[in-house]
Symmetry: C2
Subunit: 438 residues, 2 copies
């Protein structure tokens, strides 16, 4: 088993990364039918060994109870028969998605008989660093195998036994079904993570899933591209032409339906022309949901129970029932505020004006921009991706909720019959046709 212990030396980690890289090269040439069969075998293995998984998970849960792990973390850690069945179903559902590898994206004739294809291919080796939730293991193995990538895991220590047994079961099932040795690897110590971050010759992408602090520390200490988001500072702007009723509902959904997540809003902006009518209604509604309001001076003047916001509030992700509220003079002030204080995740406008919506959509530089809809929709499942590996606020490669498309890149394949560049230069140069075929 490709598990490296905390005490192991770094040569062992390099060996694991080397196996992953070698496996990734074999995976480049592993057919979709083999990958699908492996995913089905993994789903079967998880069902068959549900008892073992639950036993190992109980070891983690016991430790968690002793150490007084927080309620919400404990809930994410603890498995039951239903959650295990969900893991199996998740693996099976990935099999139904179209093969993301080998897709012809463009085809161009450079000259007669000289054809250039742009074809999707896997990235290579992906490393994923996550906290607490053991269901990440089958989910990420599923996406990696589907996209022909090798993967290296580092899970949270709270879930060590659960992650380890899941990893073992999935690895064995995968290799038995024809995947190359090393297609998945696991490391267990924090030191290994630090070392992983240095292995830019072996690892093509790092996906951190967990707290903002985890994500930021990884982004700060590696040359490997990182796919993810540190902050989720989302804003909703209620325009002067907003439907009052709709604004109340959308603000409620975006703030209070599930405040702990990255696509919930932290800031609310309201156009001055409607502040007097809209704000009291919104805030009455939010008071019912126990949301604390931190407002600018106009907001505080309108609402006696609002607390004054300080400068830091506009840049804070509360992940809690707290909302910063500010009155703006114009749509442009709103978009400037969002571009300055937001994290480029998901931002919304509530407006009845098509022109205002268009301007907002063009001007807000975020991965998801909503018009008359909740920011909470920014999610791989809701966006219809079938599976999500994370939400990215990067400006390169993959942005927003990312599915399998974030795990592939492309290569150019040029097919000829002996063509030389020299034939296309100088006095009797042939010319390129550059005819787009696809």
């Amino acid at each position: 088993m490709d598990t490296v212990n905390a005490t192991s030396v770094s040569a062992e980690l390099v060996a694991l990364a080397t196996r992953a890289r070698e496996a990734s090269l074999v995976l480049q040439d592993t057919g979709h039918e083999v990958r699908v069969a492996a995913l089905r075998a993994m789903a079967r293995a998880i069902r068959e060994q549900a008892g073992t998984i639950l036993r190992e998970n109980e070891l983690d849960c016991e430790t968690a109870r002793k150490q007084g792990l927080g309620q919400s973390l404990y809930k994410r850690l603890a498995l039951d028969g239903d959650k295990i069945e969900q893991m199996a179903i998740g693996l099976e559902s990935v099999t139904g998605l179209p093969d993301p590898v080998g897709v012809l994206q463009e085809e161009i004739e450079l000259d007669q008989g000289l054809i250039l294809d742009k074809v999707s291919c896997p990235l290579g080796v992906i490393a994923i660093v996550f906290e607490s939730r053991p269901d990440v293991v089958p989910q990420v193995i599923g996406l990696s195998v589907k996209s022909s990538n090798a993967v290296i895991f580092k899970g949270g220590s709270e879930a060590l036994h659960s992650n380890r047994v899941l990893f073992q079961i999935l690895e064995q099932a995968g290799i038995a079904a024809g995947l190359p040795d090393g297609f998945a690897g696991m490391v267990e110590s924090r030191d290994d993570v630090k070392a992983l971050l240095k292995l830019d010759d072996y690892i093509d992408l790092i996906i951190p899933r967990g707290s903002n602090a985890l994500v930021r520390s990884i982004m700060d200490s590696t040359r490997i591209p990182v796919l993810g988001h540190a902050d989720g500072i989302c804003t909703m702007y209620v325009d002067k032409d907003a439907d009052l009723q709709m604004a109340v509902r959308l603000v409620h959904d975006a703030k209070a339906q599930y405040p702990a997540v990255c696509n919930a809003i932290e800031n609310l902006l309201v156009h001055r022309q409607v502040a007097g009518t809209v704000l009291p209604r919104i805030l009455e509604d939010l008071r019912g949901a126990s949301v604390e309001i931190r407002g600018d001076s106009t907001v505080c003047a309108l609402l006696p129970d609002a607390l004054p916001a300080d400068e830091a509030d506009w840049d804070t992700e509360y992940n809690d029932l707290i909302l910063s509220v500010r009155v703006v003079e114009s749509l442009d002030e709103a978009t400037a505020f969002i571009n300055a204080h937001g994290s480029g995740h998901s931002d919304a406008i509530v407006t009845g004006s098509d022109e205002a919506a268009r301007r907002f959509v063009r001007r807000v530089d975020s991965s998801s921009v909503m018009v008359n809809a909740s920011t909470r929709f920014a999610d791989g499942y809701r966006y219809g991706k079938g599976a999500e590996i994370g939400i990215s606020t990067n400006k390169t490669h993959a942005r927003g909720p990312v599915g399998l498309e974030g795990l592939v890149i492309y290569k150019y394949i040029l097919r000829g019959s002996g063509q030389c560049v020299a034939d296309y230069t100088g006095a009797h140069a042939r010319s390129y046709t550059h005819r787009r075929i696809l």
Copy 2:
């Protein structure tokens, strides 16, 4: 003019980067017709002020002659009327390419009346660090404006006067034609480059164009995504089913037609079955082109005038008339060699076997893979992109010869009529339709 001198403090650089970021937000909402008009105005301005450009360029050339700048660098530095006309034509030709911004890439109905669009948009602010060639200034301003990005330049000190005057002319013409102040900025000192690399809150992509050392030092010292390639270690593999004649021609083209460039080959692999017949012919041809051969023991035994290659030779980019040659036992040994020693740039197979070609293409993990064609075709112009900002060996975002597509990303735009996530959860949840429209 947004030029920061070597002596300026870093506050000035932050101010320049801030102007660039603000301009980039305006550019997000600047129509294609404005951008095209600006490019046309720039082409006109270059033609009108050709005399001024040549005068300033002569100052650089004079210094270069005094300092004994190498012949090839001097040739790239020196401008004439024809090169200036080419700059103007280059700017005009970009106007004819399709607008890369605002392209609807996907459209999906999440539910009736809740429509998700994936639309291309600019990256934001691009920084380009280059050496010696002043024609990079109009070329990169052209691509940036076309793709609605702001751009910050740092050119080589050898071309300071030329770059500065070109930048001034283009900036003025662009602003007069309606582009926002700050759409292009220029820094002039090495210290400014170091500082730029730290401005990851302002700059979305860095494109280094120049020596391997320049590219590597930039990649090593920034968190900003870097698009480019440090090495160009390309390999050609002559398979056992290769056409002898074709192999000779392709090796000649890939090595000797222009050895100083990144897509020329450094390594040649030959299948053992044909080594005895193919190698003498290839090497006879290369001798005629004064190519020095460094071979493994088999090669040296076959060819008395080959020098023995040492381990470092297989990983060396000569950029010169030197070729490392090795005999391999199989196609798989060839692909393993390329994946281990190549730089993921461009690699070729010469073979008459479709099956061998397919296997090679699948197994070689490089941005361009050639079958019976020269590696020298890996180039934005030859690939029909109209314009190239560089060749990338990155595995994320953009790979291979990169045109305008590398300067855009996408955003998701969700349009609804008040939909809340709460409507889609719980007992009476609505379900998603997830109907693909585009």
